[in-house]
Structures are given as structure tokens and as C-alpha cells.
Symmetry: C2
Subunit: 217 residues, 2 copies
Amino acid sequence: MSPTKEDYLKILFELGGRTEQVPNKEIANRLSISPPTVTEMMNSLVKAGWVVYTPYKGSKLTQEGTDYAKKLIRKHRLWEVFLVKHLGFNINEVHPEAELLEHSTSAELADRLEAYLEFPEYCPHGGAISTDLMEEQEDMTVHLTEAVLGVPVRISRIVDEDRLLRYFENHDLKIGDRVTVTGRDSGLDLLTLNHGTTDKEIQISQTIAQYLFVEHI
Amino acid sequence: MSPTKEDYLKILFELGGRTEQVPNKEIANRLSISPPTVTEMMNSLVKAGWVVYTPYKGSKLTQEGTDYAKKLIRKHRLWEVFLVKHLGFNINEVHPEAELLEHSTSAELADRLEAYLEFPEYCPHGGAISTDLMEEQEDMTVHLTEAVLGVPVRISRIVDEDRLLRYFENHDLKIGDRVTVTGRDSGLDLLTLNHGTTDKEIQISQTIAQYLFVEHI
DNA sequence: GTTGATATTTAGGTTACCCTAATATATAAA
DNA sequence: TTTATATATTAGGGTAACCTAAATATCAAC
């Protein structure tokens, strides 16, 4: 299994490919590659049994594909805990490091690392580490864009992509914060939030808000 | 820089490519690839400025190539220390793990890891970690095959290739042991040693003894 | 100095992963 | 229901890193 293929499986999981068909374009966007390359890769992943692909519709992970993706994400998050807790990295620096390390981590190494870290439940971005908890969390949390107007929620997880993390940091948003969606303007692609702690108004792009997960309180 | 190219630089350093021309065949053997592939890769490494190549003779590392190789080896050895000291791995299990991790380790990560490990001097196989000490050690130590008959020496370093480590373990040899070469049979490719601690006679293949480094006491 | 053994290179081919340009399909709007 | 737009696929090409088979260079022995 190449790091490249592993990346496809992981992205597929992150885009909901466990339960829904993910269109090629979304994968192409997230990985910054051309759509024909995605088509080609999907055919290869189908042949290897990781993915079910319906031409012109999109791809879903098989059970094997889902399990593989979850293991990768677990490794990624374990490294993030290590980098932050023991090596003193800043939360928004660890993603690219873990992105590399995850592909070089045997099952044995992951298990030993997990024990060494004393079985942490969450990564620094709020993502569940145990592969069982992972699916549960995926199902329970909701995109910020789907939160009901006026109902306060708690930010539980931020998709850990470098540029995104800096965007959220610049808007003073972090895990655990309570926010209330007060307005939605689809034309301008804007979401207006009230920050529970500071009571300030925050405006962020809806497209980007998709990468923020919230839980009801 | 691809992991593949990094492996070539590292092997070149390990085979003495810092000071001498290394023939293609040795590289092909150590990496288990065909000689034509080595020729091809050497041309590409020359173009990138890592290597000076004389056709039909062999390759030498440039200063840049040497520095790059030393940084890789440092990362490799740092991971080995971490795996043994903190994750409880066995010495002969860590090589393949570190072999993967070294290619996924930024300079920043290596520095932080080194500080976390409290600046260890040597890896579990006896290899120096600081890039300065590394060359020094390389120059001072001598292959077991070159030790003078009857003169006791101390095993200082074992090239950490998985199969070799198991071979040395099976012959009850480890770092720090005092041994004396008592006989050499080139026809049978045999080296006879006297083990300083147990006073037992040990016979190992000369070919394999090349991967054992010793220091005079 | 020719010969033979060994090492190296050249020639030609494969697979993985990426691309652009052109074509085809699906979907939403008129 | 046709048409426009967005999305996906096919066709054709490129580079990196491997391979085998055949040709060539080196070097030591005669």
C-alpha cells in the first residue's frame, strides 16, 4: 500500500465515504490533483477491494477500506498527541508532521505509542483516537453549517488541515468554545456566529465552516 | 527528495562514499536492486549535485551529499533511541521501523526529538548521533576483519541491518564485548574469535564480520 | 598483448502516479 | 423537453524507479 493510496482512503473517510458516495471532484479538490487522476485511482482502489465506485456518481469505502482509513487516522492522531504533549509543538504545526509519520507507522509501533501516551481519547484537534469512538463521533457531530439558528452549540472538532487551522485561529475559534449561529447568508457564503465566551460577533465563510464540527449542549 | 534517493545517499555514506569511490555493485547488493538501476540513479544524483560519478569506477558523495546522508543517519538513530528507551522495543526490532520514520522526519522534529531524548550520544547499535562525532567514529573504528591477530578489541558498533543483527545475536556477540581474533581462514571465509567474557570460541563468516566495527582497547 | 571473468552500461520495457485537451454524461434551468 | 452548465471520463503524454537481455568496458592472468 503506497502513501498515495493511503491518502485517498483517508480523504474518502473524512468526506463521509463510509456512508455516502463521495463525488470525484471533492477528492480532487482536497488533494489538489486533477479529476482524471482521481478516476484512475478509484479504479485501482476498486481492483484492490478498498472502494466501491459508481461511474459518474462517486465512491464509497468498503468495510476493508473503512477499517484501513480508521487505522491511518488513529496513527495520525497518536502522533499529534506525542508531538504536542512531549515535543512541545504548537497545535497548528503538527498536522503536516503527522501527515508524513502516519504512513511510516507499523501496527506494533502505533500500539506501543498509544500505551506510552497513556491511551489518550482525543487528538489535539478534538478527534477521537480509538477506532470505535471514531465512527461514533463522526455520526454524532454535525457540521457547523447544519447547526440550528439561535441554538448554542460547542465546537468539538476542527478538521486538521493547516490552512484551515490558521483560518480558525485568526477568527478566534477553538475546541470547546460555545457558539450560536445567528445568521446565514448563502449568497455571500457567510455565517454569522455569536461567540459564547467573548460575546463578540464572528463572520466566517460557509464553505470553510463545513470543516468545523459541533455538538449540542 | 524522494525516500528512494535518500536511501541511495545513506548507503553510499555507509559504504565509505565520503572518502572513496563506491562501485555500483556494492550499492546494488545492499539495496537489492539491479545494477542498471544503480547506474541510472547515480546519473540522477549527479545531476542534483549529491554525487560525483566516474563511469565504470564508482561514486563518491559531494560535500552536500555527505551532509544530507549524515542528517538522515542522525534521524534514524534518534528514532532508534526513542523506540528502545521509551517504547520498549527490542534492539534488533528497531531498524526497519527507523528506516521508515527517518524519511518522514523534518529538521524541526529531529531537533525536538533529540532534546526530548536528552541529547543521547549513541544509538542502541553504538552509532554516533551527532553529525560531527559520526565522521570521527567512522574514521576511528575498524572492521573486525581488519583487526590484528591476537590483539584484544572491543566491539563498538554493529551495522543495523535486521538479518545481520540476528546473526550476531545468534553468535552471542553484542556491543561492548571484548573479543580477540585468533584465526582467519579466507578459503572457508571464516574468522575465529575468542570471546573475552565467556572465553568461548566463536566462528563467524568473514563476509559478515565486515559489518562489525571494533576499537582498540 | 590477447583472453576470460567480472562489472557496467545501453536498449527497451513496465507500473504508479501525475498532467492537459477533448469528449461524454448528468443535472438543473428555461 | 431542450439546452446550458457542471462534472466525469477517455485519450494521449510525462517522469520516477524499477526490470531483463544484450553489448561493452575493465582488469588480472596467461
